[in-house]
């Protein structure tokens, strides 16, 4: 099988621009998801009245429905524009996963750590800020890292709401110009370039955390 290399090289700018869109959506979606997740997990941890039920319901709904259907509902059903829709859907889906990661991290900090901080005279705020949060974040690192990779991969479906991401470019090349093999090779290369550094960074961070602070 012979690949049309000049055409592949010619398509690089298209893929580069699309990769930028993918990254931009992923980065803002993941950051928002992190914020939503941390806030949700925190409300659950502090056992705030009235909020626990809706937050738990949100976590279940976001984790038990497909991103593609969330996108369709937001874009075609609620008429949200393509780009904000992609970011919102990713944040909605990711928020549930991130909340679970942070909640598990917070629960991993033993109650007695809180008591000994309080008994030293630290206020509740200082206890959370200096004792609970740092430890919770450290033990949540592996789960958060897995979520980041998962969400970055999930970003690959946003072309269904007419966002020009890498997949959309590949689809166009296939259906308009019949450059099927070339487009698919470029698609795989584009995802390897996007995902490999992120995976390596997450693995390194995980290993660092594993050998660092924990263990009694």
């Amino acid at each position: 099988m012979e690949l049309d290399y000049p055409n592949m090289i010619a398509s690089i700018p298209l893929f580069a621009r699309a990769a930028w869109t993918t990254l931009w959506i992923a980065a803002s979606g993941i950051l928002l998801a992190g914020a939503v997740g941390l806030a949700g997990a925190f409300c659950l941890y502090l056992e705030l009245p009235y909020l626990a039920r809706p937050i738990k319901a949100y976590i279940e709904i976001s984790r038990n429905t497909p991103l593609l259907v969330q996108l369709f509902l937001l874009h075609f059903g609620l008429k949200v524009d393509a780009l904000p829709c992609a970011v919102m859907a990713l944040a909605f889906l990711g928020g549930g996963y991130m909340a679970e990661a942070f909640r598990a991290g917070l629960e991993a900090v033993e109650r007695s750590q809180v008591e000994s901080a309080l008994s030293l005279g630290l206020s509740h705020y200082e206890t959370v800020r200096h004792v609970v949060l740092p430890q919770a974040l450290i033990s949540a690192v592996p789960a958060i890292g897995a979520n980041v990779i998962f969400l970055l991969k999930e970003t690959s479906v946003v072309s269904v709401v007419a966002v020009t991401d890498i997949v959309a470019v590949a689809k166009d090349l296939i259906s308009l110009y019949y450059e099927t093999a070339e487009a698919l090779v470029m698609l795989v290369i584009a995802y390897l370039i996007l995902l490999t550094p992120v995976c390596l960074a997450v693995w390194r961070l995980e290993r660092k955390v594993k050998y660092a602070v924990f263990g009694r």
């Binding site: 033993e110 007695s112 750590q113 008591e115 000994s116 901080a117 309080l118 008994s119 030293l120 005279g121 630290l122 206020s123 200082e126 200096h130 004792v131 740092p134 430890q135 450290i138 660092a212 602070v213 924990f214 263990g215 009694r216």
Partner: protein, 245 residues
């Protein structure tokens, strides 16, 4: 000698279960009070009510002339009451030195250098100054517990509460922790020591409470208590230890 802590008719229940059933005692400055009793007799709960980790239902606690209760600024009171727990509970994410300086810096607003100087003096006293940059996971159980004591002492408390601090240590490590306590007692630190080590209770205390079922059953000098317990319950409690050995 002036009285620093007085507990009068203290009562507390968890649901239908009465844990503290009218406790009375007081501690004078510079003295060591030891509390013994079977597990579940309420001695840990008693310690925890003194620094507000547990609320109480009735009676009063007077610390340094101030009645403690629902309206108390626990943050300020706790900074004068040091407490050490059975499970050490060093902050896992902080180095030894930062474990000790956290509260002086955040609560007493001490400068970092000043707090570290206090911390290093304490670490030298417990002979762990070479571990200043170690993380808790690198220490043995006994070392962790000595750092936990130093951490509480760094706040320069008026009184120290020790809750079964050797209960999760093997005998050799208990020994090094108990020696640290004896040294502390020699500096005239006021202390309440809840313990299950009878030999230690005999050696360290000026005064001893024997608790059973939420009540103070006997109070007196440790030597007298162990030589001639006055009540049936105390005799039964002590005989259990003989069986164990």
């Amino acid at each position: 000698m002036s009285e620093i802590l007085a507990v009068r008719n203290l009562r507390k229940s968890f649901g239908p279960h009465v844990v503290l059933d009218g406790i009375d005692f007081s501690v004078d400055e510079g003295k060591v009070l030891t509390i013994i009793g079977a597990s579940g007799c309420g001695k840990s709960t008693l310690l925890r009510t003194i620094n507000g980790l547990e609320a109480f239902d009735g009676g009063e606690i007077v610390f340094d002339g101030e009645r403690l209760g629902p309206g108390t600024d626990w943050r300020r009171v706790r900074s004068h009451i040091g407490m050490v727990f059975q499970s050490y509970d060093l902050f896992n994410h902080l180095k030894v030195i930062d474990n000790i300086t956290l509260a002086p810096i955040k609560v007493q607003n001490k400068r970092k250098e000043e707090a570290e100087e206090i911390a290093m003096n304490l670490l030298r006293r417990i002979r762990l100054d070479d571990k200043r940059n170690a993380y808790p996971r690198e220490l043995s159980g006994g070392q962790k517990q000595r750092v936990a004591i130093a951490r509480a002492l760094a706040m320069q408390p008026r009184i120290m509460l020790f809750d079964e601090i050797t209960a999760s240590l093997d005998p050799e490590m208990s020994q090094e922790v108990l020696e640290a306590l004896l040294e502390l007692a020699a500096t005239k630190m006021t202390m309440i020591v809840v313990t299950h080590e009878m030999g230690f209770a005999k050696a360290i205390g000026d005064d001893l409470l024997f608790m059973d079922d939420g009540k103070v059953v006997e109070r007196g000098a440790p030597r007298d208590f162990f030589a001639a317990p006055r009540t049936q319950r105390a005799r039964r409690f002590l005989s259990r230890f003989e069986y164990q050995i």
